[in-house]
Amino acid sequence: MTEIKPEQGPMAPSDDSLFPTNQAVEGEIIAPEGSMVATVDDTHAAGLELKVRSQWSYARMRFFRHRLALIGLFGLVVIFSAGIFAGFIAPYTFEEIDLNNILQGPSHAHYFGTDALGRDEFTRVVWGIRTSMEVGVFVALVSTFVGLIIGAVAGYYGGWLDNLLMRFTDLVLTLPLLAVLLTATALLGQGSQWRVSLILVFFFWTGIARVVRGIFLSLREKEYVEAAKASGAGDARLMFRHILPNTLGPIVVNATLAVGTAILVEAALSFLGFGIKPPTPSLGVLVSEARANPEQWWLTVFPGLTIVAIVLCVNFVGDGLRDALDPTQRRMRA
């Protein structure tokens, strides 16, 4: 029974990038005319250059020709370094209360203005970037890892194990994120970002698990796997050495896009009051606090724009990676 399901999780199908990249070139071998098969030694002996490019270098080439991805990458570098070096570039501390300067608009002293307690909004946004970044990267990495393991095991072994794991996946998909978060808050104390991250991981791994499982299912019947098996390779070796590399493309893309989705979900949760609790500045918390002061536009606009910028850049990069790493891509005009 094959069920064909569209890919869950971060959406956006392939063939979607805005800019055409050049036709993928499989390899450049400069060989003397007439020879059928040129080995490395032959060509060296003939004093000619042999440029054999690996799959990865072609991927890299394709990526760098993708203009939007480059913009995204640049944007991410800027924003993420702002987050990493928050302590250095922030002119104030994010807890510094100045009751004489509440709700001031953007100015020289306060680039993004101040909030209801006189705290510098720019500082809070920068620290918020750091928090969001930590959540996004952690969730993406760990959920990808978990999803990979589960998907690999399900796809490789098939049968009842596959069935069980897939039903478990269905179960996780129907569980309510908010209820789990609320309970965790009640049982374990306040909403620290790490706890929120762990719970998000619990809900995020399903997407990658499905994709990995699909790849494993389709590849385990292939001849080269059978051949490897026949020559005595164990399960683990088969999974990791032979099948796994084929999943790396979708995994990398999925992980990148998951960063963006995780940041959006965390922001929404913090906004609703179920995620990271104040006073830890997360971008969602900043927008939520701004609701009480709708006339002070800078409190709503700046944190929101930052979220949009981060997710946009992440999506650009993810799109570029998808183009670069998909070996079946054909970029031809109609």
């Binding site: 064909i4 569209p6 979607d16 805005l18 269905d170 569980l175 609320l182 997710v311 999506n315 005009r333």
Partner: protein
Amino acid sequence: MLTYIVRRILYSIPVLFFSTFLSFIFVSYAGNPLAQLKQNPRFSPQTIENMTHQLHLDMPVIQRYFLWLQDVFTHKLGNSLYTGQALWPQITRTMGHTAQFIIISEVLALILGISIGIYSAIRQYSVFDYVFTSISFLGFAMPTFWLALLLQIAFTDIFLHYNIRIFYTSGLNSLPGGPAWSWDRMQHLALPIATLCIISFALYSRYMRASMLDVINSDYVRTARAKGVSEWRVIMRHVFRNALIPITTVAALNFGALLGGAIVTETIFSLDGIGFFFIQSLATLDLYAVMAYLLITAIAVVVFNLIADIAYGFLDPRIRYD
């Protein structure tokens, strides 16, 4: 096909069972719903004892779960633990409101998304294409709550400065209990619909564009063109219909997910919908209300997933379900 449907439904039942069981345990442990009563320094301990007993809080969790399950079938989801009122009328009322604005926004998003996706694919790499793909990217990156807040602030400003009320920024009607299909209601729903529409539109237009491109580059389309069929006929007869197939799946899944209530949108615009109902029930730890919501949305997700798969199999003759 029928056996496939039946098998899927049968598989869903234990999944629903486990999911509601786990959710029940989660919310039960989230806290004591009677805690709020203690904010009155003169609270009556007798009442707390009564209510502990009435809400079965003195029984083990598993037993309480089966009592709830019993209530679901015998009492139509039972009564709210907070107000003692029947839940089913509340669920139908709020679901009606949510369904109203979700259906409108999804239909709009589909129409817009599909048409723009088609045009983008036909005129690939044109200015039109660039502009709308950028808008799609932006739509994906925009947090729902931020978009909703911006719209709310923008239209509030317009009203306060120019004294013209274009769209309302909260509530379902100007006066409570107003009619569901009136100009007043549409003025109130315009902004929530716009919020949901922009984000869904991004999804549909990108999917449509991509699947159009997939089909446009396929062999049978080339054949049609080679045969001399006009471009318009090629698009309409061959490309469009085949490209539509993946969209039905995405639309069904998206709709199923949205039926859980566009929680954030409803909270910001104070709409009496099922998402808002859920948030309020969570705040008061009204276990039965929360479970009613979870059950309904879980069923909706399962049903729409099934619809998505069936539609896909129905439309694409290459897919065969055994």
